[in-house]
């Protein structure tokens, strides 16, 4: 068994999932992907992950609704750390994300170094 931390990237844009994956995977994270909140919650039921990276605007179920739903579920899944990545950058967006249960918020465009630093911090990976 290896000690790789697993990150689930939840974003409907395939180029964005690939962009984050190509930053995180070479740094030693295992990456899973989901296209929206519904698919992410399904994946979490079958296998826990160490960190969620979640976009807000997605079809079927947006990121904030997904987080609210997740935080109502049973432990330990309900406590999965979550990083919101979004183009929205107003104070009310940060507040809404906090209220939904986000642990951290990065405004897009997310640069490589910030993504690596925050991902490592949130899932407790040694840096």
């Amino acid at each position: 068994m290896d000690n790789l931390k697993t990150i689930l990237i939840v974003d409907d844009a395939s180029l964005v999932r690939l962009y984050y994956r190509s930053i995180l995977e070479p740094a030693g994270f295992r990456i899973e992907e989901a296209l929206n909140g519904v698919e992410a919650l399904e994946k979490l039921q079958s296998a826990a992950v160490d960190l969620l990276i979640v976009d807000i605007n997605m079809p079927l179920m947006d990121g904030l609704t997904m987080l609210e739903t997740l935080r109502q579920m049973a432990l330990p899944i309900a406590a999965t750390p979550a990083l919101i990545t979004s183009t929205e950058s107003a104070d009310k967006d940060f507040a809404a994300a906090r209220a939904a249960g986000a642990n951290y918020y990065l405004v897009k465009p997310v640069d490589r170094d910030s993504l690596l630093e925050v991902a490592a911090m949130l899932c407790g990976a040694p840096q």
Partner: protein
């Protein structure tokens, strides 16, 4: 099978006229070898003993046989990162200008026409991932279109041979492809899903208009196959498909100035590009 008979001058002309009426592509006696070879392929495939029996079949089954026929005709030679100075121009200049007035999260629409087996639209996706740090800041939509439905199926499958990858560094091949058997590589799922493919005839306004307006259109090395009239029609269609201020990139040897007065020439450090004027009124 015996060598098929060459086409008479009249037969050749009849065929070229038909092809022109249906597709806007112009073939003359100088392309006879190229045309004849494909006609003979389709005659063999349809068990047509003579040209006139094949031509009758072509006109009678315009939907299906014309599609096969066009598929056999179009030139589908391309590779990843072909003419990449235009890709450099895309990220250094065109997108910088296009996003100046856009809000984060707004859409950026890019169209590759014709896209053949997909190398160009996938190259655009790869290039953006490698060279444009704002790839997650906008809703990027890439459309790949071609008149040839067979190449579109190939594009959608996302499997490529060595030749298509020849310009890519081993780093890029390893990053964006997984190796299959027999010198074949499969493009990553996310990259494949980032491009939408559709069949479009550039001289048919009903075909082009349904895709809406784009920020940047790559239309390289196709207008050279058209005559003056179809070239102008295609250019006018493409103009309608550009957002005001949107850009169109042609092949290195092509010039829009000789085709249509609608566009403005923009000279950037990496490429010459044509632009629909920002205040440009719709044409017709």
């Amino acid at each position: 099978m015996a060598e098929a008979a060459p086409l008479s001058r009249e037969e050749f002309q009849q065929l070229c006229d038909y092809l022109y009426r249906r597709t806007g592509m112009v073939f003359t006696e100088t392309k006879r070898y190229y045309v004849e070879r494909r006609v003979h392929d389709r005659m063999a495939a349809t068990s047509s003993p003579t040209f006139s029996s094949y031509f009758g079949r072509l006109r009678a089954n315009a939907q299906t046989e014309l599609e096969h026929f066009i598929n056999a005709f179009t030139v589908n030679e391309t590779y990843f990162y072909r003419e990449d100075d235009q890709l450099a121009c895309l990220t250094k200049d065109l997108l910088v200008e296009r996003t100046r007035a856009k809000k984060p999260g707004a859409s950026i629409r890019i169209w590759s026409a014709p896209c053949s087996t997909g190398e160009e639209p996938y190259s655009i996706g790869m290039w953006l991932l490698e060279n444009w740090p704002r790839v997650d800041d906008y809703d990027i939509e890439i459309l790949g279109s071609d008149i040839d439905t067979q190449v579109l199926a190939h594009a959608q499958a996302g499997i490529f041979g060595k030749r298509a990858l020849m310009r890519l560094s081993p780093y890029l091949v390893a990053k964006y492809f997984s190796p299959l058997q027999d010198d074949q590589w499969k493009i990553l799922d996310e990259l494949r899903d980032s491009v939408r493919f559709s069949s479009v005839n550039l001289v048919e306004p009903n075909d082009t208009r349904r895709h809406g307006q784009f920020d940047v259109i790559f239309c390289r090395n196709v207008l050279i196959y058209f005559d003056d009239t179809s070239r102008r029609i295609a250019a006018e269609n493409l103009y309608e498909n550009l957002l005001p201020g949107g850009f169109i990139c042609l092949g290195h040897t092509e010039s829009m100035s000789r085709i249509s007065p609608l566009f403005e020439v923009r000279r950037f450090s990496d490429a010459i590009v044509y632009q629909r004027p920002a205040g440009g009124e719709g044409h017709g």
